[in-house]
Amino acid sequence: MLVTLNKFWRSSAVVLLAATPAFAQNVLTVLPPESTSIKLGQTGEAKVHLKLRSGYHVNSNKPADEFLIPLKLTWTSTAVETVSVEYPKPAMEKYQFSEKPLSVYSGEFDIATKFKPIARGMTTVSGKLRYQACNDTMCLPPKTIEIQLPINVE
């Protein structure tokens, strides 16, 4: 419920590390999310802003085909509880290689996460964003990006 954005942290809130070194093409950029202060006993939200290179898409969190790899954001922390991860509404797009429309994201979009703190103080929440990107003629192997998000529990 309470969302207090601390601009002081904005520039240094997130550290991005490519966790899968075998795959070098970065067609997905994770912009530094606004850091969050949350009051103990309440719920706060943090958004991860994603930007895909033009011409590329990633599967949504619920792809239409069982073999496709979904977009998935997960968080690990002992100081805050992840209440929910909310993905935007996907687009149903038809591609040269697909017989039926696929459930995808392209361009820029946000993934919002609701956190509920367990204890007061500053903490860093570790996130992993798993995705697999394609354009109309080729696909890039799945990749995992690590995200470090500081949260101040008041």
Binding site: A22, A24, D65, F67, L102, D136, T137, M138, C139, P141
Partner: protein, 169 residues
Amino acid sequence: MRLITAMVVGLGLISCGSAPHARAAVKPAKERKKAPEFSLKDSTGKALKLSDLKGKVVLLNFWATWCGPCKIEIPWFIEFEQKYKDKGFAVLGVSMDEDGWKDVKPYVESKKINYRVVVGDDTTATLYGGVDSLPTTFIVDRDGKIAAVHVGLVSKSDYASDIEQVLAK
């Protein structure tokens, strides 16, 4: 970086002089480079080496079950295997699925793939320039040399043209 490496290696191997997606002409025989040897396992655990297919024209296809464009090509490759096998041709699929046969075997069975499939690894991919993008397909001649390479989805007729040219020599 690996894409650049792949492209450099690809260009070095066949000197096609074209960007990914573009039609890659079959390289003259005297200018072809040897296809790197590898040994990978099939669904039964049996090792298959590229050199086991020496003497055949091989369509070496790097693919994955999560790759949409790869799935368009697979029915073509099934058809090519059937159509050209008596002329000394074979398709070899190298799956780059991280979970290996757990994902690949059901797919191979459901699509009734009639050609050899093995599960690849980073070592093999590196030998072929990284294989950053899928599908990536090499046409290997009877002497085990790379005659053509395609990165990304290309037309069925392009593949057929390459195969027939390489089989004819």
